[in-house]
């Protein structure tokens, strides 16, 4: 949400409010199945305003939360089309690879091969989700890396960010394309292998090592 | 002082007219002399502060009639018994100054003497009726949660006033500041329950005493009867008892108002 201060105020610090009044606005429904179901009579949304739907949340049948979020995370300088092109290209690469494997596989192995690139991406990101994060807490001049618990949405973001940074590293200097790096990473992650999974495990180890600093929380 | 001097002192005191008041003599006095018109002059009032009997001719004829409103027949012991007026609290909570009103104790519960209650109740009802007949304001007070709404309803029905809520300190003593203007104070306050929900004496009793407003109080066996003008020792907790008392007070107010309407 873009936050905008009142035009009349002369000096402002960033206000912590949204353009939508929180008391009066609720999130829109972007899920097709949920839209079909009618609202119960005493649901508060009958009496409140609904926020405007975001452009990338159209309730199509192919709407996928993980892929949409990955597009946003991989975006640079606001070039969403570029990012979407990359991510969908990566998914296409995954699909092609999987189909090749499927064609080559024997009849009893065929059902075990996952053909949906979306599913592979979901599983891959899910496997990369860390359970904790490290946050710097300064006490008496020293900054300690303290492990903090995190919500599911933040864990998802951190997984995507780790994967994005690793893919950008690989794609630096033009040796590899970003889409190829991302496709490879996603496929490996769905098998619990790859650099992102390694990074996640490193993070977990550091969190475990810094367990003693946990009392600096709060 | 020797006996002769003492006797002459008594005779002199007797001669000045400081003898006990009686309705017969008052009536005789009134009929003997012509009734003065209007309020007593400042001079007479000054004399009256020393020798009250000087003001006796100014007393209205209504006050010389016993049972002007026929309330003696309204109150009877059987009805009071049915309405459970004789039940007090447990013997352990009995207030020292309420012992005079008890008939006795039964199974640990104080029992009021309904003859005494009857006498006091008639006196209180009569007073209330007289005040209403002179256009007085009666304020009914009760903080008993079960019956307070009934008290309010009764007060509204007879065109009087009720206060069954939290008593703001200074409501009577500091009224000008609280209301922003001087208002007419109640002429009598009737406490259907003289204790608050915290089992403490209701603050309005002291305020009424400070403002010299006569009070009628239904006192239970655990209540402190001090500072109340007209006591009525009775049960103030049972809804039936309170309903009975409210009915009687309503009747007294209505009779007083009817008398006033006839006079005007």
């Amino acid at each position: 949400m873009i936050i905008r201060p009142c035009a009349r105020l002369i000096s402002t610090s960033a206000p912590s409010s949204s353009r939508y009044d929180a008391k009066v606005f609720r999130e829109p429904i972007s899920d097709r199945e949920q839209l079909r179901k009618p609202l119960s009579a005493d649901d508060e949304r009958n009496f409140l305003f609904i926020k405007a739907l975001k452009s990338d949340e159209t309730p199509t049948f192919y709407r996928n939360h993980v892929v949409d979020k990955l597009v946003r995370v991989c975006m640079t300088d606001g070039r969403k089309e570029m990012s979407r092109k990359n991510v969908l290209a990566a998914l296409e690469i995954i699909k092609r690879k999987q189909y090749q494997a499927w064609n080559k596989a024997s009849d009893d192995e065929k059902p075990k091969i996952e053909l949906s690139a979306f599913k592979i991406a979901e599983v891959g990101i899910d496997n990369c989700k860390p359970l904790m994060k490290l946050q710097g807490v300064t006490r008496g001049g020293t900054t300690y890396q303290v492990p903090f618990p995190i919500e599911d949405s933040e864990a998802e973001f951190r997984a995507m960010k780790m994967m994005r940074d690793i893919c950008r590293q690989k794609a630096k200097h033009g040796e590899t394309f970003f889409k190829d790096a991302l496709a490879a990473e996603l496929m490996l992650a769905s098998q619990n292998e790859g650099a992102t999974i390694q990074a996640k495990q490193e993070l977990h180890k550091t969190c475990e090592a810094n367990r003693a600093y946990a009392h600096y929380r709060g | 002082m020797n006996s002769a001097a003492l006797r002459s002192l008594i005779r002199r005191v007797g001669a000045s007219g400081a003898r006990p008041f009686s309705a017969k003599t008052a009536a005789a006095d009134a009929s003997a002399t012509t009734r003065p018109r209007g309020a007593p002059s400042a001079d007479t009032l000054q004399k009256g502060s020393v020798q009250p009997t000087v003001l006796r001719p100014y007393v209205a004829p209504e006050l010389e009639t016993e049972d002007l409103f026929g309330l003696h027949s309204l109150v009877n012991v059987d009805e009071m018994f049915e309405a459970r007026l004789h039940y007090g609290h447990k013997i352990g909570t009995l207030h020292e100054n309420m012992k005079w009103a008890l008939y006795g104790e039964r199974l640990g519960v104080c029992i009021f003497d309904l003859e005494i209650t009857r006498k006091h109740l008639i006196r209180a009802l009569d007073f209330v009726a007289h005040v209403v007949s002179r256009g007085g304001i009666i304020l009914f007070i009760s903080t008993h949660r079960d019956t307070m709404l009934d008290v309010e309803k009764m007060a509204e029905e007879v065109g009087q006033y009720a206060h069954v809520r939290f008593w703001q300190e200074g409501t009577l003593t500091n009224m000008k500041q609280l209301l922003g203007a001087s208002v007419r104070m109640p002429d009598t306050m009737v406490f259907l329950s003289s204790l608050t929900s915290m089992s403490e004496r209701h603050p309005a009793i002291i305020e009424a005493a400070k403002m010299t407003i006569p009070t009628v109080g239904i006192v239970d066996s655990n209540s402190d009867p001090s500072y109340l003008t007209y006591l009525v020792p009775s049960n103030d907790d049972s809804p039936q008892a309170v309903a009975y008392l409210l009915r009687l007070f309503k009747e007294a107010c209505q009779r007083g108002a009817a008398y006033r309407a006839k006079q005007l």
């Binding site: 936050i3 009044d21 452009s55 309730p59 | 009250p52 209205a60 009720a162 809520r165 203007a181 007419r184």
Partner: protein, 374 residues
């Protein structure tokens, strides 16, 4: 009645004045300290009324002058017109609204005199007068009486549906300020809490729906979203072509600096023209999704014919967003049964987001210069 003894204190003046009134026929208001105070109060009330009359006359005269200046008719001038005229004649850069000049009827500007009501004998009106908050305690008593009534007759039903509870959806209790204003008395927080407890208890009883009218007097709808009001431009009217009987609606919407006007007709074959160009001009998948979103949600793909025109400086996504909003409004006009789905999808709300201004000493709206410790 037997008198024990004649009252002998000096403060018996009051007693005697009221006692003698009956026998001598004098009115009580002509004597006594309270009566004199009452007279002072009545005088104060008369003076206040006179003052209000004067101020009212001043206001009317001012209004006539203002109308003359602005070339309007004084009789048809509304308060809105007066406010506009004053803002025009006295332009001000002051940010505090209370510092700006106003011309309004005196009862809206001057503090109200709290009038105490008495009858000619000086008796106050209202049985709860001596509680000092008669209106508030009357409300409290009424809630108690209604609760008792509901409690007695509402408890026999078994299921929740039968239990007939008051529906709390869509409304909230009046807050302390509004309650105080409605009752015309100051209310302390403790008193307000008491009232809320009583009201909540009433609502919790089965059968409380019978007291719906009473309870709704003390509740207000949440914001303005009572189902019909939209945040943004309204749903346009439907025009029916006389010859073909075809229904058309034209809606206008804007996103950032882009303005879109969309004309939708039913009985179409799915034509979608934006600025004279068809949908495949939009190469971005997201743009196409956005444009078709209202049709997907309301399940009208291929059934309408849509023509959109845009104006303005908006960016890549602003055009589809504006067209989407206007298209949703038109569909809601043509098919009222689809309105609920469209609102729940968030398609009938105007997106208020705009570019955030950059601040001084910062490179942008949020970004900061690199922070150096020394």
């Amino acid at each position: 009645m037997l008198i024990r003894g004649v009252v002998s204190t000096a403060s018996s003046v009051r007693t005697f004045s009221s006692l003698s009134s009956l026998s001598t026929g004098d009115s009580p208001s002509s004597s006594g300290r309270a009566a004199r105070a009452l007279e002072m109060y009545m005088r104060g009330v008369k003076e206040h009324d006179k003052m209000m009359g004067r101020e009212g006359a001043n206001f009317e005269r001012g209004k006539r002058h203002l109308a003359n200046m602005m070339g309007m008719e004084a009789s048809t001038m509304t308060q809105n017109d007066i406010d506009t005229a004053i803002r025009y004649l006295f332009p001000s850069g002051l940010s505090d609204k209370k510092a700006l000049p106003i011309l309004a009827p005196p009862d809206q500007v001057l503090p109200r005199l709290h009038k105490l009501a008495f009858d000619e004998e000086g008796k106050p009106m209202g049985a709860r007068f001596y509680t000092l908050k008669p209106a508030f305690y009357q409300l409290l008593s009424e809630v108690a009486i209604r609760s008792e009534k509901v409690d007695r007759y509402g408890g026999e039903k078994k299921t929740i549906k039968e239990k007939n509870h008051f529906q709390t959806g869509g409304s909230v209790w009046l807050n302390e300020e509004k309650m105080a204003k409605k009752l015309g008395e100051k209310i302390s927080t403790h008193m307000y809490t008491q009232l809320m407890m009583a009201m909540e208890h009433l609502i919790s009883l089965p059968g409380s729906a019978t007291q719906n009218d009473f309870i709704m007097q003390w509740r207000e709808p949440i914001a303005a979203g009572s189902g019909n009001k939209l945040f943004g431009p309204p749903i346009p009217p439907v025009e029916i072509d006389a010859t073909t009987n075809r229904r058309t609606a034209t809606a206008k919407a804007d996103v950032k600096a882009t303005y879109a006007e969309v004309k939708v007709s039913d009985a179409g074959k799915g034509e979608f023209i934006v600025d004279g160009m068809s949908l495949d001009t939009f190469q971005s998948l997201q743009a196409r999704e956005t444009l078709l979103c209202p049709l997907i949600v309301s399940d009208l793909l291929g059934r309408l014919s849509i023509t959109a025109t845009t104006k303005g400086m908006g960016g890549e996504t602003a055009v589809p967003r504006a067209v989407r909003h206007a298209l949703s409004l038109s569909i809601a006009a043509l098919y009222p049964e689809k309105k609920e789905v469209l609102t729940l999808s968030g398609l009938l709300t105007r997106d208020p987001r705009k570019r955030e201004r950059s601040k001084v000493n910062q490179p942008g709206a949020r970004a900061k210069w690199i922070w150096k410790r020394r």
